[in-house]
């Protein structure tokens, strides 16, 4: 079977043990370009995994293990040389200060990475200052904020207001989601978008970066 197809299958089938051997074989024996292995093998496999999740063939545990396999493969590819992995743009993710609920943010991260975005995951309980500082240093195009609790969702407004007050040359878009967030609330705080689930979060990022949503 085509080695690139095997790499793709390896991701889709969660075969974390085989991914390194296959990638080495693709590079050393088949002499295939790193970017091709990434795009047609690793990323293609992850796209299939997401499609399987979308049509309920897979649940979240499968998606996580597929992403683990993908990350192992990407790490190995990077050790062979600079990977122009077609990474689209940087997306910074954080759960706002006062909140520690992370599962939603983690699933969004998996989906975004699988779609080729360079994700900077700050984690949970992150201050406005740290979010904005890191977004500037990393030149992030999008900031994705999550909040499960209503007592902490006002932190999202603080991030947006602070960014707006800074008159930045390149202002990152700020998108929001989480258990305590609704579309109405996102409009109230003037967020650039709201995602009710991880799949839509990826679509929202794509639309914003293509200028299709404002």
């Amino acid at each position: 079977m085509d080695i690139i197809k095997q790499v793709s299958d390896c991701i889709k089938n969660m075969n974390e043990e085989a991914i390194e051997k296959l990638i080495k074989e693709a590079i050393d024996i088949e002499n295939i370009d790193l970017d091709e292995i990434y795009a047609k093998g690793l990323r293609h496999g992850m796209e299939r995994a997401i499609a399987a999740y979308d049509n309920k063939e897979y649940d979240i545990p499968e998606l996580i293990v597929c992403a683990d396999t993908l990350n192992k493969g990407v790490k190995l590819l990077n050790s062979f040389g600079n990977l122009d992995n077609g990474s689209k743009e940087k997306v910074l993710l954080a759960v706002v200060e006062g909140d520690t609920h992370e599962i939603g943010k983690n699933i969004v991260k998996i989906m975004l990475e699988a779609s080729g975005y360079n994700v900077i995951d700050l984690g949970v309980n992150i201050s406005t200052e740290e979010i904005i500082y890191t977004a500037q240093i990393e030149n992030a195009s999008i900031i994705g904020l999550s909040s499960m609790m209503t007592t902490t969702r006002s932190q999202m407004k603080k991030v947006i207001d602070t960014i707006n007050s800074k008159n930045l040359k390149k202002r990152p878009y700020v998108i929001v989601g989480g258990g305590s967030i609704t579309e109405n609330y996102s409009k109230t705080i003037k967020a650039d978008g709201y995602a009710s689930n991880a799949l839509y979060a990826v679509k929202l990022v794509e639309m914003l970066l293509k200028g299709e949503k404002r």
Binding site: D59, G98, T150, T182
Partner: protein
């Protein structure tokens, strides 16, 4: 008396108004002050009972009691639930170093039991207590992503961890029951990350191990879209089921046996938090009208309410939910 008999014991609607940490603003106490003082718990329960005339009584919900007792680091906001900052139980060897808490000795558990006893003895209404379920506790102990990954990678670790959490919850729930709780609801929100097959394999039997030892009204609450495993939830040994506001109760009710109470599902955010009392009354009446033909429906919130939801909004929903049957009958919509 069964829960079903209780909610049909008068010719009016009954209302379960478990709402979260809203009572703190009524007393001015911070969450930790209340958690650590049974008399403040009683005072808060009395204040809630006066402010929101309803058919059950509650203590301040304590979702982090297990994690606190097991020594996890917690973030402790003044006016909201505590939440977990670290997830230390990442493998079987670490799990072996933890001991299942004794509800009568460990950490703050005995204080909680005293609080419940005080409330049960001083307010003449069925005491409702919500307790975190074993899978949701396991998510907190191991971290969500780590636990979900290991359902595939290391099922033995997950099995052992769930054994530990099930026994932890079971012992505490039995003690809560003995302390005067008339109605115990197990909250398992993290299970929505699982599909039908896994829910059947690793959730149902663990929940039933807890329910079988409880001598009170027993309920299961899961947030999110539960339509995929509603049938499995009904195989649990429960008297009542509580679902999220996103569920269409007109459709859900068709799948609920007559002897199981379905409670819910007023929307805490879009309805109770965002709208006026008049609109809340109208929406509540619409739901009641839709459910009126079912004796096994109990009006309640779909999930915890925002802690700063206006009191008048909550009162509007509760007053409407407790209207006389004939008032609902005559409501034209």
């Amino acid at each position: 008396m069964t829960l079903l008999e209780y909610i049909n014991s008068e010719k009016r609607g009954f209302f379960l108004s478990d709402m979260g940490t809203n009572g703190l603003f009524l007393t001015g106490y911070k969450a930790q002050e209340v958690y650590n003082d049974p008399y403040k718990q009683l005072e808060l329960a009395q204040k809630m009972n006066e402010t929101f005339e309803t058919d059950f009584i509650y203590s301040l919900c304590d979702g982090a009691i297990f994690c606190e007792t097991l020594g996890l680091d917690l973030l402790k906001p003044d006016y909201d639930f505590p939440s977990v900052l670290n997830h230390p139980i990442t493998d079987i060897e670490i799990l072996k170093t933890y001991k299942i808490p004794n509800p009568y000795e460990s950490g703050r558990m005995p204080v909680n039991l005293k609080s419940l006893r005080l409330i049960a003895d001083n307010i003449d209404k069925p005491l409702f207590v919500s307790i975190q379920g074993p899978f949701t506790l396991a998510v907190q102990l191991a971290g969500a992503t780590h636990l979900l990954r290991n359902i595939i990678r290391n099922p033995e670790y997950v099995r052992k961890l769930l054994e530990f959490t099930t026994e932890t919850v079971r012992r505490y729930a039995v003690a809560v029951n003995k302390s005067g709780a008339k109605y115990i609801s197990i909250a398992e929100p993290a299970t929505v990350t699982l599909g039908h097959e896994r829910f059947e394999k690793i959730i149902v039997s663990n929940l039933n191990k807890i329910y079988k030892d409880l001598n009170c009204w027993k309920a299961l609450h899961i947030c999110g879209d539960t339509s995929e495993f509603l049938d499995l939830m009904l195989t649990c040994n429960i008297n009542a089921l509580s679902l999220d506001q996103i569920m269409d109760y007109g459709e859900v009710m068709k799948r609920i046996p007559e002897n199981i109470v379905l409670l819910g599902n007023l929307d805490p955010l879009e309805l109770l938090y965002n709208l006026t009392p008049e609109k809340i009354k109208a929406e509540t009446k619409k739901l009641l009208k839709k459910m009126k033909k079912y004796d096994n429906y109990l009006c309640a919130f779909g999930c915890n309410c925002m802690n700063d939801t206006p009191v008048k909004n909550l009162q509007a929903a509760i007053e409407t939910g407790r209207m006389l049957d004939e008032e609902i009958e005559n409501y034209g919509c």
